[in-house]
């Protein structure tokens, strides 16, 4: 894990049982997230794109343990020595044959993991660490408690963690709201007294109140009017400069994600299929799905021939995922091997990862990960 990586998610897995009328029907699962790994550098924005059902929202919720993962681990704000020590230990464990030594190593690994893996944290440690990772929701209406005044709403994370004495509460609230452009006169107002754009600002204020290191933005501008979207995007950029915070930016509007992200990861049926810096991804998408996505997004000033698309298909069912590459059915570049084996996410160009057998590597394997 490179030096300045703030967050590293490894092999996230999450499945939901298929419910038929309240009870899980025969053990079938919706495989929402199937082995997702990625890192987010400090003070950078990673965009996450994909269509509905690709697992991006589930991934976001896994990071905060709003839902518990079925598998995987998460290093958040950890010194690289610690995580590397754990990785080394686990590699050693893998190689070790002697059962007694194994038990000792397992115990050691377990202890290390509890200190380092976000998913293993107990309640009190989790509570403390959570403040460093915050969330902005899509719908500003429902993300604010309609019965609470906004001064209470924005300071709630602080009060819950005992960071702000009761007397200071209003002052803190005023400061935070000023950052997002809400005047102090609004302190005692209720959410419904504000417009959608303002409510989203309040939501942002709540997220940054505790000076988090990472803010997960889940479709933050999708519910807003077009003329307001730019205000909020600019605000997010300004906050990033000022607070030095990282963003995981999820949106289905590709234009927005490409604009605001430094790097972008593309998801399809619960896996990351490509990842690259934004500009590079736009100019030279490697994965056939990314190419499809970019080709269909309406672009102002670019005429795109969409007539051929009337015959296009849809993603496979998440309950019965086909073996091999899940994009096989729709892929114009498919090979025999694609149906049999699942391609791994590999570096095909410097800084550019892609999970596709049809894409040749133009990078020589080196020691950098």
């Amino acid at each position: 894990m490179p030096e300045e990586t703030l967050l590293y998610a490894k092999n996230l897995v999450k499945g939901y049982p298929v419910k038929a009328g309240g009870f899980a029907a025969g053990g079938e699962k919706i495989h929402a997230v199937n082995g997702v790994s990625f890192g987010i550098p400090a003070n950078r924005t990673l965009g996450l794109v994909g269509e509905s059902g690709c697992g991006k929202t589930t991934t976001a919720r896994l990071l905060l343990r709003v839902v518990e993962p079925d598998g995987g681990r998460l290093y958040f704000d950890q010194a690289p020595e610690k995580t590397e020590a754990l990785e080394r230990l686990e590699a050693a464990l893998f190689r070790e044959a002697d059962p007694r030594r194994r038990t000792a190593l397992e115990k050691e690994a377990e202890a290390l993991r509890e200190g380092v893996d976000f998913f293993s944290y107990r309640a009190d440690r989790l509570k403390r660490e959570r403040l460093k990772m915050q969330y902005i929701f899509q719908d500003p209406t429902l993300s604010l408690d309609p019965k609470m005044q906004i001064r209470e709403i924005v300071t709630e994370p602080l009060v819950e963690n005992g960071l702000v004495p009761h007397g200071e509460r209003d002052r803190e609230a005023g400061k935070i709201l000023e950052v997002v452009g809400i005047p102090a006169s609004g302190l005692r107002k209720y959410p419904h007294e504000f417009s959608g754009g303002q409510r989203q600002r309040i939501s942002i204020a709540r997220a940054i109140a505790g000076h988090p290191k990472l803010v997960i933005c889940d479709e933050p501008v999708s519910s807003l009017d077009v003329s307001i979207q730019s205000q909020i995007l600019n605000l997010l950029l300004d906050i990033q400069k000022e607070y030095r915070v990282s963003y995981l930016f999820i949106a289905h509007n590709l234009a927005v994600v490409f604009y605001i992200s430094d790097e972008i990861a593309v998801m399809y049926t619960g896996k990351i299929v490509e990842r690259a810096p934004a500009r590079q991804l736009y100019l030279r998408p490697l994965h056939p799905y990314t190419q499809l996505l970019i080709s269909v997004i309406p672009e102002l000033g670019k005429k795109k021939d969409i007539t051929r698309l009337s015959r296009e298909g849809e993603p496979p069912s998440l309950i019965h995922l086909p073996p091999g590459c899940t994009f096989y059915d729709r892929c114009p570049r498919r090979l025999e091997i694609c149906q049999a084996e699942t391609p791994g996410l590999e570096q095909k160009r410097p800084g550019h990862l892609c999970a596709c057998f049809a894409v040749a590597r133009q990078v020589y394997p080196s020691s950098s990960s």
Partner: protein, 327 residues
């Protein structure tokens, strides 16, 4: 120039609320030509959906359409037709597609049955013939295994397939005009592209005009022929899709185009333009030009509401704009 198939003149729709009466659509006039795709673009609350509903006289109390409004279709004013005559037009000559396909289908009947029903009502086909055509229509809208899907219930179809079914339903009686109110907003990008391609295909092939309501500017390019920009219940600009992108006249249009993130433009190149203020509420409109409070180019004359004016010479015959800058 050929006779437009739809002529809307002075369409005004108001809503009588407890405290006051608000005007959702004010004096909207436009034409739709044959085989033309007209896009109505605007943000929420601008009155675009109300306009569409008003065209087919679907406004319910407390809303009411001003009697001076005229919607001329095939020589008749739709707003003056009897319910029975109007019902014959709806579905038969003019069809509608909405944002939520699941809201348009009855969950208790199969998709095929519902399309067949429309065919029986408007075309007088027998039950077997109607079902057969329904199946064929589902195939035409490119639903995979369309014929078999006719026996599915709405909840068994995905959003994209359901929307295509809705289009099949709309197309079933070969209407000459299709009204589409944000049909792709709830759908994924790839599905959206497919639906647009389908509509374009049907429009150019089958002699059908489309009025497409959306809030997404980017859809216009390569899809719509002409564009109407609406704001606060009024038309601010009306021109071809090429002109709106290359030479937008109204300050609002220009500002909007600068505020929207464009694919291919990154944050280190350009900061998005922020339009000051917010969209006015229908009940609380400013006097004079409705965009003036937010307009960077406003001047004295803007205290009076502008009329629809010609947007300059250069052979721009069909470019109108509601702004005193062009007086």
């Amino acid at each position: 120039m050929a006779e437009p198939i739809l002529k809307v003149r002075d369409l005004t729709t108001r809503f009588r609320l407890v405290e006051r009466t608000i005007t959702a659509v004010a004096g909207v006039s436009f034409d739709v030509q044959e085989n033309e795709i007209l896009a109505i673009v605007g943000e929420s609350g601008c009155g675009k959906s109300v306009t569409i509903l008003s065209l087919m006289n679907l406004i319910q109390p407390p809303g009411f359409i001003d009697p001076a409004s005229r919607v001329l279709f095939e020589g008749r004013n739709l707003l003056e037709l009897e319910e029975r005559e109007l019902a014959a037009v709806r579905g038969g000559r003019i069809a509608m597609v909405f944002q939520e396909p699941s809201a348009s289908f009855n969950l208790l009947f199969t998709v095929g049955a519902q399309i067949a029903e429309a065919l029986r009502i408007h075309r007088g086909l027998s039950r077997e013939k109607a079902l057969e055509q329904a199946r064929d229509l589902l195939r035409q809208v490119r639903i995979p295994a369309g014929e078999r899907r006719a026996r599915d219930y709405p909840f068994q179809l995905s959003g994209g397939m359901l929307q295509r079914s809705m289009i099949a339903l709309a197309l079933s009686c070969s209407p000459s005009l299709l009204l589409a109110d944000e049909p792709t907003t709830a759908l994924d990008a790839t599905v959206q592209a497919q639906i647009l391609a389908l509509l374009k295909e049907k429009s150019s092939a089958g002699g059908m005009s489309v009025i497409f309501v959306t809030h997404d500017f980017a859809l216009i390019d390569g899809f719509a022929n002409r564009v109407i920009i609406m704001y606060a219940g009024r038309i601010l600009e009306c021109c071809s899709s090429r002109e709106i992108l290359e030479q937008p006249a109204h300050p609002y249009t220009q500002d909007l185009l600068k505020a929207i993130p464009r694919l291919g433009v990154f944050k280190d190149e350009q900061r998005l333009y922020s339009i000051a203020g917010r969209v006015p509420e229908p009940g609380n409109l400013p006097s004079g030009c409705t965009y003036a409070p937010r307009c960077r180019l406003r001047f004295g004359k803007c205290e009076v509401e502008p009329e629809l004016l010609r947007a300059g010479g250069n052979g721009k015959k069909n470019h109108t704009v509601r702004c005193w800058l062009f007086a």
